[in-house]
Structure formats: structure tokens, C-alpha cells
Symmetry: C2
Subunit: 187 residues, 2 copies
């Protein structure tokens, strides 16, 4: 019988962050994460390939963003479509700033996690470029819009994490796109 596990993924992510904080990333096992979440190891591996992946949400962010982009009207300018798409990530971030900060501190302390994070971001940029091409945007505009969007996303994310005034991620993202426009106009 399969145990009913509402939001198993979220519970596993939360349990992993707690344990990584208490015992350290290296010392924590998948078994312990599953136990803390009140789930089995088998359930863990149904959601995540390994201990590292629990910090990277599987393909949730990428699937969410590509799905969002598909719903934006086709006549929206490429970079505006990317900006609107990335704003959807705000829903995943705002209200979870402390958890995201914990996660980023862990990543900063473990080179293997930094590598995974960079690969995730690069894959996300490629996925956005592919989704733009499917909307009929030609290269190099598709890749430029996707990569420039990821550049703004990266800067906005760092500023959102460090923001003492705790402004919403969306605000930092909008400031970033406005800043990019000013920079390119002046170059």
C-alpha cells in the first residue's frame, strides 16, 4: 500500500534543509531525511535522484517557467516575455526567503553544490531559448533574450537574498530589467 503523502516533495526539501543545518550536509543521509519527513527512502527516490538533488527541486522551476512562457501572448516582445516568465519564479521565492537563504549558504559552502547550481541555471537558460525559438523567435535573438534574462535573474536573486528591506523578488527583477535597458541605451 502506498502511504498518502500530501506535498511529499516539499516535506522532504524542508526536512533536508533542517538536517543539513543541524548536522551538516555531508553527515546527513537520505534515510535520515526521509525519516524526518515521515516518509520512506523509496518515496525520497521517487522525487529526487540523490541527496544533492533535494536542494535543486528536480525540474520544478524549469517546467514552471517554460509552462509560464507558453501562456504569454505570442505578440509579446521576446525580452518582455522572458521578464514576465521569470517573474513567475517570485511565487516560489517570496515567503520562503529564510529557507532560500539557508539553501544558498549551503551551496556557497560546497563546491559540488555550486557546480550543480550553475548547471541548473545554464540548463534553464537553454530551455528558455528553446521555448523562445518555438514561439518563432529567430537566433541569435532567442538565445540573447534568454541569456540576458538569466543575467538579470541572477543579479536580482542575489540582491533579493541580501535585501535588508525585504522587497519582493519581482521588484528586484523589474529593477534589473530597467537597469539593463539604461545600460544598453548608454553603451
Amino acid at each position: 500500500m502506498v502511504r498518502w503523502a500530501p506535498n511529499a516533495r516539499g516535506r522532504l526539501e524542508q526536512a533536508a534543509l533542517e538536517l543539513f543545518g543541524e548536522r551538516g550536509y555531508d553527515a546527513t543521509t537520505v534515510k535520515e531525511i526521509a525519516e524526518r519527513a515521515g516518509l520512506t527512502e523509496r518515496t525520497f527516490f521517487r522525487h529526487f535522484a540523490d541527496k544533492r538533488e533535494v536542494l535543486f527541486g528536480g525540474t520544478t522551476l524549469q517546467d514552471g517557467l517554460v509552462g509560464t512562457l507558453a501562456e504569454i501572448p505570442e505578440d509579446t516582445a521576446p525580452l518582455a516575455a522572458v521578464a514576465a516568465t521569470l517573474e513567475a519564479a517570485g511565487e516560489l521565492f517570496d515567503g520562503r526567503r529564510d529557507l532560500v537563504r539557508q539553501r544558498q549558504a549551503l551551496i556557497a559552502a560546497h563546491p559540488e553544490l555550486q557546480e550543480r547550481e550553475l548547471i541548473k541555471l545554464a540548463t534553464l537558460g537553454s530551455a528558455l531559448a528553446a521555448a523562445l525559438r518555438e514561439r518563432g523567435i529567430a537566433e541569435p535573438a532567442a538565445s540573447l533574450a534568454a541569456e540576458a534574462g538569466m543575467a538579470v535573474f541572477k543579479v536580482a536573486f542575489e540582491r533579493w537574498l541580501e535585501d535588508a528591506e525585504e522587497q519582493a523578488f519581482t521588484q528586484h527583477l523589474r529593477d534589473g530589467f530597467a537597469g539593463l535597458k539604461t545600460l544598453t541605451a548608454g553603451a
Copy 2:
């Protein structure tokens, strides 16, 4: 006695690419690379920390770009300064397209090399942002200009590698910055 080794670094890079192509990356040893270059293992390790690093040129690119940026007039607009800096990389690429293509094919085939490449690019973006702050550019403009520049660099580099017409890297880079300006104006 130290053996006179003009351009030891370049000879090691060339020997490594030859051997990786002939025998595969995994099967090639540092000893074999040094022998092919007519140098000792000790000389190899004076230039590179390990076999992987021989593909990433130590800190040559980063030092070169940060040095170039320092020589650009202070009143140059941030993104224009980044563009001019990244053009300097063209000198490292043009005339070596076949070698760079060999290198990229190797990287594409080895996840551990892809991770290293992404870390190098991320580090380069951070170094450019730091160099812009030293020129008095405030945040987030410094990080935005650096990351947007790296986004254009990445797209230009991919297009330069695949370009059947073999246009110069500088041309692809200029097209990229012009394309970014068009995209931001329309967003």
C-alpha cells in the same frame, strides 16, 4: 638546471588537445602530455594544477580581461567598457578556431569539464563586476553590466564556433551587443 621552454604553457595545451583527441580524455596522463610537449611533469604542474586545468588556461583569460578593462578610459559607459574588454578575448580565439572547436567538443562530452567551464565563466563574470566597482560603478549596475556582457559573450562564442562563414569573434560579439540593445529597446 632549468630547461629553456619557450611558450611551455602553449605547448602543453596543444599536446594535451592532441592526446585527448587521439586517446580520449580519460586515458591520457599528465606524464604523456608533458612528454608530447617535450617537457617534464614538473613543468606541467608549474603551469596547471591538474589534467583538467590544461583545458582552461589557468587564469590567463581572466587576468587578461581584467587588465584590459583597467586600461579603458574611466568615462566610458559601463556596458561599452565591458564590450571593449570582451573584444580582447577575440585575440585569443581567432586564428585558433579549430583548436577551440576541439576543446569545446571535449567539454561537451565530459560533464566534469562542463562544470569547470561554467565555474570559469561565473568567476569571470564576478571578476568583471568587481573590476567595474573599482572603477566607481555602483551596484547593481556593475553586476548587471558584467553579467549581461557575459550573456552576450556566451551567445557570441557559440555562434563563432558554429559559423560556416568563419567571421571573426569580434564581429559576433558586436552583433550580440547590438542585438541586446534592440531587445531591451523593444521590451
